[in-house]
Each structure stands twice: as structure tokens, then as C-alpha cells.
């Protein structure tokens, strides 16, 4: 039983039916339901909760999980840069992300969508973005590629749309989802202008014991059917100082990541020295995901 089914139960209870006392007696289930909001829990409560989840996941997936709850690092706001003049559209990032973040493989969920655009004298033809391209080799002459994932907005419309506080922006700028609070209403998906949120229409389906066991509560722990998920800049890695999986996977080095508050970080250097732009800047979402051109493109 998850929060949503419980709430259904509660709703029915309120509308006349009597809550079955035998159900109520199972305290371990109740513990989950009356869980405080993640950001309000103290260290002991967090430990107890993640232990309980580790136990549940082990039973469900026959695999041992570690569910971390690392806090934001003080003085750090994460930023991401993507060099469009290098990206060759090979999709290595897409699958490295799936591997790292335990997305469902079937039905398929990708947090990164790579769009292919035609390049011509008029400039970028944004109307013609194609995500299903599959030539033998990339890059193809006359095209360029633009990977899109969660832009980690400073001003995230998805957060405002959530009726249950199941998604919020952390102090290090990462927008996270608490899968135990999400009721699957998908308002956030409608609000996101970047199509960066994805819905679990089914239980996550991967080959047995093919989950990445090194997880974070707000990141890549296995999701439930009926909840929304999204890119977290690999919170389970980046809060421990590591680069996100997509940065590590990119063969051309187009992906840059670091602390926006550190003037010497790669991302700060990119913003300072290159012409950068942000997707749909006019919407005032203030993304912390910057696209730039490492050099002027030629054909």
C-alpha cells in the first residue's frame, strides 16, 4: 500500500465507511503514512525511515539497496553547461542516466531527450526538433543536437503546481521529488515547460537485480507505480562531490557541471567566457542549465 491508496482509504473512511481496525493495527505501515515531510525530519527519523525503505526494497526487488539522505553542501548551488558546438547526438548520456538512476526500462523512461535540429543559413529551426533520429553515424552534416533534461529552475513552475508539497527546490538548487508524497496527479508535468518530468505508468521494470543499489532518498531509489520522477543532477553522486553520470558518459566532453558560487568552477568559467543561453528564458523560470557554443559552428 502506498500513500495514494492510503489516502483513498482515508477518503472512503471520511465518506461514511469505518476504517478497519485490523488494518490500523499494523503500525509499520502507519509509520510510513504519518511520516513527516522530508525537510522536517531529524537525523534519527531519517535513519529510521531509510532503513525501513531499504528493508522494503530488499524484499520487493531481491537486491540490497543503500538509501542515502545526504544534505545539500553549504555554499553550493549547482549549475550545468552544455556545449552545443561539441554535442554529436550519440545518446551515450541518455543511457548512462538510465543505468545510474534506475528508470524503468520497459515501459521506457528517459530523463534526457536529445533533439536534432537542422542547421541552415537562417539559423536554428526550432520547429523541426526530432527526437527519433537514428542514422548509422553521428554527427550528420547539416544538423546539430540539443539534449534536454530538467533545467533545475530557480523559479520552478512544477513546484508551484504541486498540491501536496511532494516536490520542492533544495538549497543547492536541485528540484527533488519525494516519491512517498507524490500522489501522481501530474499537475507538475503540465506545468513544466521542458517536458522534464516523467510519469510511472507501471512499476519500474528492469532486469532482475539490475538496479543501481547506491541511491538517495530524493534521487534514484526505485520509484513506485503512479509517481512522477525527474533528473536530479544525480543528487546521489553530486552531493558526494562526484560528477553526474551524464557528464562522465559524454565522449566529446560537451557536458560541464559544478558550483555556480565558485568563480573557478568549469560552469562559472563557461558562463563568463562563452555566449550562453537558457531554454525559454522568457518564461522567467531561471534555469540553472546553460547552453553555450564553445566555438562558432561551421558546416
Amino acid at each position: 500500500m502506498d500513500r495514494r491508496t492510503f489516502l483513498t482509504g482515508a477518503a472512503l473512511g471520511l465518506s461514511g465507511a469505518i476504517l478497519r481496525p485490523d488494518k490500523l493495527l499494523d503500525l509499520s505501515i502507519l509509520e510510513g503514512f504519518f511520516q513527516k515531510h522530508f525537510t522536517e525530519m531529524n537525523e534519527t527519523e531519517l535513519k529510521a525511515m531509510t532503513l525501513r525503505l531499504e528493508h522494503n526494497y530488499a524484499e520487493k526487488y531481491h537486491q540490497k539497496f543503500k538509501i542515502g539522505h545526504e544534505k545539500p553542501i553549504p555554499g553550493v548551488v549547482f549549475g550545468y553547461g552544455l556545449d552545443l558546438s561539441r554535442c554529436i547526438g550519440c545518446r551515450r548520456c541518455v543511457y548512462a542516466c538510465v543505468q545510474e538512476n534506475n528508470q524503468s526500462v520497459d515501459p521506457e523512461i528517459h530523463w534526457i531527450t536529445v533533439l536534432r535540429f537542422k542547421r541552415d543559413e537562417k539559423g536554428i529551426e526550432f520547429d523541426e526538433g526530432d527526437r527519433y533520429y537514428h542514422p548509422d553515424q553521428v554527427p550528420e552534416p547539416g544538423y546539430f543536437y540539443m539534449p534536454v533534461q530538467c533545467q533545475q529552475c530557480e523559479n520552478p513552475p512544477c513546484v508551484k503546481a504541486c498540491p501536496t508539497q511532494a516536490t520542492w527546490k533544495e538549497p543547492d538548487g536541485i528540484v527533488v521529488v519525494d516519491y512517498d508524497w507524490c500522489i501522481g496527479c501530474r499537475y507538475c508535468m503540465a506545468a513544466c515547460p521542458y517536458e522534464a518530468r516523467h510519469f510511472n505508468w507501471a512499476e519500474p521494470n528492469r532486469r532482475p537485480q539490475q538496479f543501481n543499489p547506491d541511491t538517495h532518498y530524493l534521487g534514484n531509489r526505485p520509484r513506485y507505480k503512479g509517481v512522477v520522477e525527474k533528473c536530479t543532477f544525480c543528487v546521489q553522486r553530486t552531493r558526494k562531490g562526484r560528477y553526474p553520470a551524464c557528464v562522465e558518459a559524454c565522449p566529446v566532453g560537451a557536458r560541464k557541471f559544478g558550483n555556480l558560487l565558485d568563480p573557478n568552477s568549469e560552469i562559472s568559467y563557461a558562463i563568463k567566457t562563452k555566449r550562453v543561453f537558457r531554454l525559454k528564458d522568457n518564461l522567467n523560470t531561471e534555469p540553472k542549465f546553460f547552453y553555450f557554443f564553445g566555438y562558432e559552428m561551421k558546416d
Binding site: P251, E266, V276
Partner: protein, 245 residues
């Protein structure tokens, strides 16, 4: 709930208005339409319940004393109006204090060892007994696989030393060992500058700690430097193919 629906409608109108959309126009958003009918039916019937749930959810949350929190915006945001201009300019001004240059040679310590092609014996083993031939030509007796597709009009001795045949040579005559980036940097100044700061090329490891950096020659053959094409991994499944439960 009426208020919430209203705000949702406003949001989606602003944000999903096709005239506002820079892209995603021809590939329509993954809308509920594209999902299978039975799935949709179930969700429609759930809708009423969900609406109720939102209310009940709030009720439950507030009665059991778990105040819903809005996570501090203050830490990362900034007072409006302090800096004016485009959102981006504002963002840059606020987030990027003046960057003092880091140790310009720091990158040397994190370079991954170069990928030497297997070399049977040193160049001088043969070239000791051969006169230097400065004439640009197609090589046949040896090195037939090396075809220069680099600087138009360039030749081997732009980079290889004619006197010490085992070594690479800079323009000023200085012989170098593994530091080919210094060679490349002579002609590709901007790229080299970015490379030193980790912008051109690739770093792995820790964003705030120990890193490793790839060298120019990991990605570019000195003789034929254009990055070699790759075969792409499979495209995503089209929505209509996702219709299975």
C-alpha cells in the same frame, strides 16, 4: 480545489501555449491522449478521487501536525531589483563574482596518461640510418596508414623533430615528451586556454575534488584530428509503442 484548478489552467495556458514554445512544436508533448484508452479511463475515474484526495491529503497532513513546508527560497534566491537587466544578466551578475585565475598549470597534474599506440621499437631504430626527407609526399615504404588531414599544407616536421627522430618539437625548437597539448596549444590558443580550465575536453571524477582530465590526443589524432563519428544509441520508443501495461 477550484482555486487550484484555476491556477493550473493559468499555468498551462502560459507555459504550454505553442506560440510561446521555442521548440517541441512538431513533436507534441507526451499528452494523455497518446496513452492507451483503458489506461486513460482508469485515470479519468481516478480524477474525481484524486481531487478529493488533495483535500483529504491536506486535512490529514495538517491534523497529524506535519506542516507542509516550502523549502527556503532565501538561501539561493536574491532580492529582486538589486540588479536589473535580462534575467540572464541578472543571474550572472548575482552568481558570478569576479573570477581570479587559478593556477594555470594545475591541469597538468590531473591529466590521464596518453594513449600511445603500441610501438614496436623507437623511431630512431630505423631513422638513425635514414636521411631526413623534408619533401611532402605520400609515404609508401612505411607509415602508409598516416595520411595528414590537418593543417592544409602542413608536413610531418611541423611537429616531429628532424634531428631527434624520437621527439616532438615545438616551433621554438624545444623538444617535448608527453606534453603534446603544448604543441597543439601553439596553433589552437583559444581551445588550449579553455582546455586548461576544463571547458574544452573532458574531466571526470569529483567536481569539488580529485579530477582526471583527458588529453587532446585521446580525442584527436594529431594526423587526422577531426573527432571520429560514432554510432548513436537507440532512439526513445514512440508514445504509441509505449501503450503496453
Amino acid at each position: 480545489m477550484g482555486a487550484r484548478r484555476g491556477s493550473r489552467a493559468r499555468l498551462s495556458k502560459e507555459l504550454l501555449d505553442p506560440s510561446q514554445s521555442i521548440f517541441f512544436r512538431t513533436s507534441p508533448p507526451l499528452s494523455s491522449k497518446e496513452h492507451s484508452q483503458p489506461e486513460m479511463k482508469r485515470h479519468k475515474s481516478n480524477k474525481a478521487i484524486l481531487t478529493l484526495l488533495c483535500l483529504v491529503g491536506f486535512f490529514v497532513i495538517s491534523t497529524v501536525g506535519c506542516r507542509p513546508v516550502s523549502v527556503s527560497h532565501e538561501e539561493t534566491s536574491h532580492s529582486e531589483g538589486a540588479v536589473s537587466g535580462s534575467p540572464l544578466a541578472r543571474f550572472q551578475a548575482l552568481f558570478l563574482k569576479s573570477a581570479e585565475p587559478s593556477d594555470p598549470d594545475a591541469f597538468k597534474k590531473i591529466l590521464i596518461p596518453p594513449p600511445f599506440p603500441p610501438r614496436v621499437f623507437p623511431c630512431s631504430k630505423c631513422h638513425k640510418y635514414m636521411p631526413v626527407n623534408l619533401k611532402p609526399r605520400k609515404l609508401v615504404k612505411n607509415h602508409a596508414e598516416i595520411v595528414l588531414r590537418h593543417r592544409p599544407g602542413g608536413w610531418c616536421f611541423d611537429c616531429h623533430s628532424p634531428t631527434d627522430r624520437d621527439k616532438i618539437r615545438l616551433a621554438n625548437g624545444q623538444l617535448i615528451g608527453d606534453e603534446f597539448y603544448a604543441l597543439c596549444g601553439q596553433c589552437h590558443g583559444t581551445v588550449y586556454r579553455d582546455f586548461k580550465r576544463g571547458l574544452h575536453g573532458k574531466r571526470t571524477g569529483m567536481w569539488n575534488g580529485e579530477k582526471r582530465q583527458y588529453r587532446c590526443v585521446h580525442c584527436h589524432s594529431p594526423h587526422d584530428p577531426h573527432f571520429k563519428p560514432l554510432s548513436p544509441l537507440p532512439p526513445p520508443v514512440r508514445p504509441q509503442e509505449l501503450n503496453r501495461e
